[in-house]
């Protein structure tokens, strides 16, 4: 089953959003991905996701940024791709 870990960081000031996501990364597994909701594109987070060999996709809708994060063990990529319309 696909598990979504939603982190709504829109009401948090820097550096709390990046801190929250980095702390949640350990919960990623073969069926869990993170959906981060933010007011702006977190460029520094992207650098750190790359560094940790994690995958991500960002979508911007109505000035809100949705970032989906998963790791190499994630087995439900096709289901996630449907959500992301990749």
């Amino acid at each position: 089953m696909l598990k979504e870990l939603e982190l709504d960081t829109r009401e948090l000031e820097a550096p709390e959003p990046i801190d929250m996501v980095m702390n949640a990364l350990s919960q990623l597994d073969n069926s869990t991905y993170i959906k981060m909701i933010h007011r702006m594109e977190p460029k520094m987070l992207y650098i750190n996701l790359d560094k940790n060999n994690l995958h991500y996709k960002a979508r911007i809708q109505n000035e809100t940024v949705y970032i989906y994060i998963w790791n190499d063990t994630f087995e439900k990529l096709s289901l996630l791709e449907d959500i992301l319309c990749l």
Binding site: E11, L25, M40, K43, I47, N52
Partner: protein, 413 residues
């Protein structure tokens, strides 16, 4: 397993920090120069030295430090060989500024030459590197475009400044000398400083104060319009088209629009915790608005020019940089502690005591108000009192940001 934030693309802790800690020291030296000045005439040598110690020693020092820290956050870009670049830039700036100050004190030509050489190298060297890194960013946001435009105007202003100095030194004053001087002033203030502050504001206001993000149309509107209006103004000057008043009105509308939307975002921010950096930002916006209105009136009625310089230079720029550093330095500390994988990191709010920042804010605010009033009414005792307050404010500012830096320095090993 995750062990902390990656430092791969962040500058070493001390690289931007030394720029931030040195800035208030040069502001203090500027204040001391003003105190011992024989005259408060803006064209006197001591006052020229004072002005450049603030513009280069304080403002440029902070801008260069902030750019090192902001590039990864804003653009995912970074200054290559960060430590080496920072050391070369910093050393050249400090040597140049010290030679510059001593040159005005001792009137030695060799010191003027040394100052010009080191400052020329430091400014052009760092700006060229930053500009190149920004130009390489793949998907450029309006914030990145704004920074590129701003640094481009800086290079234009800088080259014209060099031309003006050479013209003075060789007594080769052409008919276009005054026009070039006007282009220089406007390129520095509106092109470089204003557009850079606008771009950074679009990033930091939503980021640090949980305010709504600036809309794309707002970002594009202000950055592109300001740039175009400025370029048209330069054409207007060079070809004597007589459109100066129109330029002033349009530029004022753009600046006031920026003030309006920034104040609105800050007032409607979601987390309304007491925050001295917000006080500084709001104060800065108010002084920018007052300065622009004064600038408009100034072109129709004969008024002293010094209050305009104080409103825009100290009231707007210094206040804003002051407030921004109360966020940037704690963020720098937090980031580097986090990268070490430490879990008991204090929050950014706990790094500098609120009461200390508040005390410094009120001293700064009083110094700006007294400087404006003192220069407007031409009362020396008020000006000297304001200058003393300005020096005290910068001593406290130094102590406060050093307090935040110490949180990291104590745990470094």
């Amino acid at each position: 397993m995750f062990v902390g934030l990656s430092l791969d693309q962040a500058p070493p802790f001390r690289s931007p920090l030394k720029f931030f800690l040195t800035a208030p020291i040069f502001a203090m030296i500027a204040g001391i120069f003003a105190l011992f000045s024989q005259t408060l005439d803006i064209h006197s040598s001591n006052m020229i030295a004072t002005i450049h110690l603030i513009t280069i020693g304080y403002m440029v020092m902070i801008i260069f430090g902030a750019l090192q820290q902001m590039l990864p956050v804003v653009a995912g870009a970074v200054i290559p060989k960060a430590k080496l670049t920072a050391n070369i830039t910093y050393t050249s700036l400090v040597v140049g500024l010290l030679a510059f100050s001593m040159a005005f004190f001792m009137y030695e030509k060799i010191l003027f030459f040394t100052a010009a050489t080191f400052l020329f190298f430091a400014l052009l060297y760092f700006v060229s590197i930053a500009l190149y890194q920004l130009a390489k960013v793949a998907n450029k946001s309006y914030i990145v475009i704004g920074m590129i435009v701003s640094l481009s105007f800086f290079i234009l202003a800088f080259l014209i400044g060099v031309h003006l100095i050479i013209a003075h030194a060789t007594s080769n004053i052409s008919e276009l000398h005054y026009s070039f001087a006007l282009i220089h002033y406007h390129a520095v203030f509106f092109g470089f400083i204003f557009i850079l502050i606008v771009s950074i504001t679009f990033q930091v206001v939503p980021m640090f104060w949980v305010a709504d993000a600036f809309k794309q149309i707002e970002q594009k509107g202000i950055i592109i319009s300001t740039s175009l209006v400025l370029i048209l103004y330069f054409i207007n000057i060079l070809f004597s088209l007589g459109l100066d008043s129109l330029y002033q009105v349009i530029m004022s509308i753009l600046v006031l629009y920026f003030v309006l939307i920034t104040v609105k975002k800050l007032r409607t921010r979601r987390r309304k915790l007491k925050d001295i950096s917000v006080y500084f930002y709001m104060t800065s916006m108010i002084f920018l608005a007052l300065g622009i209105v004064y600038w408009l009136i100034f072109s129709f009625i004969e008024l002293p020019i010094e209050p305009l310089a104080i409103l825009l230079g100290i009231g707007f720029v210094v206040s804003l940089m002051n407030g921004m550093l109360y966020k940037i330095v704690p963020f720098l500390t937090w980031f580097h502690l986090n990268s070490k994988g430490l879990f008991d990191i204090p929050t950014m709010r706990d790094m500098i005591p609120l009461s200390k920042m508040q005390q410094q804010y009120f001293i700064h605010l009083n110094s700006v108000i007294l400087l404006v009033l003192g220069f407007y009414f031409g009362i020396d005792i008020i000006i000297y009192t304001a200058v003393i307050l300005f020096i005290i404010s910068n001593i406290l500012f130094f102590i406060n940001i050093y307090t935040a830096a110490q949180v990291y320095l104590k745990r470094e090993n």
